[in-house]
């Protein structure tokens, strides 16, 4: 029998209010299913982090219920504390024990993410990026059925960001909830992108991935280039959707321009 797997985590009419101010989350309904990562967009202070803490089970909602949450949740807070005394190795061993997972997987994933700090020095001495990698490894090695990641790409370099994306995509049997403003999460396979506005979730059109192309000797072509174009001395910087990249490059090369750089 081909049965749709049940939604792992379901929020119904969840409300979060701080003091007497207007609610941050208002009668919010959400289902997070394995294989379909939910990506939450929203401005600063829109309640993304509150929503993620409620889903992760470390904050009680002011009203409403969360059902189907597994016992252990892999949670990465938006700002992992920088003052932890424990070395990364001990921290990851303790956290793996709490999750009931295998602590020997952590070093490999740290390598994959390009962790360059010491495993045996207090985490206070790690850089922001390296501390963030410890927090990510703690959650991603947990084998938890629910991953709640608050801005996981922040502070990561390009290689680490790519490794993180592929690792999240690989966790297909886990329900994933991500808050992300970099646009990276929207590219995850099966991602459902929602915007948190005024305490409610609404489908958001995923931002189209863009690419920046720097051309030399393209001044004569300026009238024909897209609107999002800037001139920087003898260079012309064009920003186009990824889908149009190859067409623009071959068009510009055919007209004698040089390509200096293509960057995400």
């Amino acid at each position: 029998m081909d049965v749709e797997p049940p939604p792992t985590v379901e929020l119904s009419r969840v409300e979060v209010r701080y003091g007497r101010a207007a609610p941050v989350l208002h009668e919010l309904d959400l289902q997070v299913t394995p294989g379909r990562p939910v990506v939450v967009l929203g401005g600063n202070g829109s309640g993304k982090s509150s929503l993620l803490r409620v889903v992760a089970g470390c904050q009680a909602p002011s009203a409403g219920v969360v059902t189907g949450r597994p016992r252990h949740v892999g949670y990465v807070p938006d700002r992992f504390p920088s003052q932890l005394r424990m070395p990364a190795r001990s921290y990851l061993r303790h956290l793996a024990a709490m999750h009931g997972s295998d602590p020997s997987e952590a070093p490999a994933l740290l390598d994959e993410l390009g962790f360059t700090g010491g495993l045996d020095v207090p985490m206070v001495r790690l850089s922001k990026g390296n501390a963030q990698k410890v927090a990510l490894v703690q959650a991603l090695c947990s084998r938890a059925a629910l991953l709640v990641l608050d801005e996981p790409w922040s502070g990561l370099d390009a290689a680490a960001a790519a490794a993180l994306s592929s690792r999240i995509s690989g966790a297909a049997d886990a329900a994933v909830l991500v808050a992300d403003h970099t646009g990276t999460a929207a590219a995850l396979p099966g991602a459902r992108v929602l915007a948190l506005v005024g305490g409610r979730l609404a489908p958001a059109s995923p931002p189209r991935p863009m690419v920046t192309i720097t051309l030399l000797g393209a001044d004569p072509l300026l009238p024909h280039l897209p609107a999002d174009t800037a001139v920087d001395g003898d260079r012309v910087v064009v920003r186009v959707p990824v889908a149009d990249r190859d067409a623009l490059l071959s068009w510009a090369l055919a007209r004698g321009c040089g390509v200096l750089a293509v960057q995400p």
Binding site: Y18, Q59, F80, Q83, L84, L95, A97, A135, Q138
Partner: protein
């Protein structure tokens, strides 16, 4: 207890446990230094002093982890109740160590003459200290995070509760345990009841502490 091990590892690294433990060890040194005398020697005083020391240590233990790291721990361990149990276990372990140290201190020959301490006296001394230590744990857990978030209020609340309840001789478990250990031989059944009451109080305090996380319907923004 996986969480208790983590809490203890973090606490030991923080060194914040050193001040209350040092205060207590110094107290034992004063009370039992020179010539401790026969039982109960300084036990009524040391049992009474263990009450605020244990409350202090419980607040230190509960507040030791960074609040944001605590969120990660709560998610990983399986909820606030699991973490609260781990904190309780760490506090009770400290209580047992400090109570045992107080009970056996008079029979360790340091410099002076050793008086005969029968087993019944040692057991009474241990139970009396266990009663006040576990009561201190209960007070500390109710005055620490997540119940009281700010350490200044924690201090004021704990000092108030300890002063009011510690000097009331008829009030179990602290007042009655201090009174029961003054007699020779000690009233063992009464002391056992006091220790059981203290332990029960600590367990209830831990449950209330866990419930306070989930019952706070309008938390402060973090």
């Amino acid at each position: 207890m996986i969480v208790a091990r983590y809490v203890l590892a973090d606490l030991l690294r923080s060194q914040r446990f050193i001040v209350p433990v040092f205060v207590y060890v110094a107290t034992l040194g004063v009370l039992f230094g020179g010539d401790p005398g026969p039982a109960p020697a300084g036990w009524p005083a040391s049992a009474l002093i263990l009450y605020p020391v244990s409350a202090w240590l419980a607040i230190t233990t509960a507040n030791s982890e960074d609040p944001v790291a605590r969120l990660v721990t709560v998610a990983a361990a399986g909820g606030p109740a699991v973490v609260a149990r781990g904190v309780l276990a760490a506090c009770l372990l400290a209580d047992v160590v400090l109570a045992a140290a107080s009970a056996i201190r008079p029979v360790i020959p340091i410099v002076t003459h050793v008086y005969p301490y029968p087993a019944i006296a040692l057991l009474g001394g241990g139970l009396a200290h266990l009663a006040t230590a576990t009561a201190g744990t209960a007070v500390g857990l109710l005055c620490a995070r997540p119940v009281i978030e700010r350490v200044g209020w924690s201090l004021l609340a704990a000092v108030t509760v300890v002063v009011v309840t510690g000097v009331t001789p008829w009030l179990p478990p602290v007042g009655t345990a201090v009174k029961a250990i003054e007699t020779v031989p000690p009233d063992l059944p009464a002391l056992a009841v006091d220790a059981a009451i203290g332990l029960a109080m600590a367990v209830v305090a831990s449950l209330l502490s866990a419930a306070s996380t989930m019952a706070r319907r309008t938390p402060r923004p973090r």
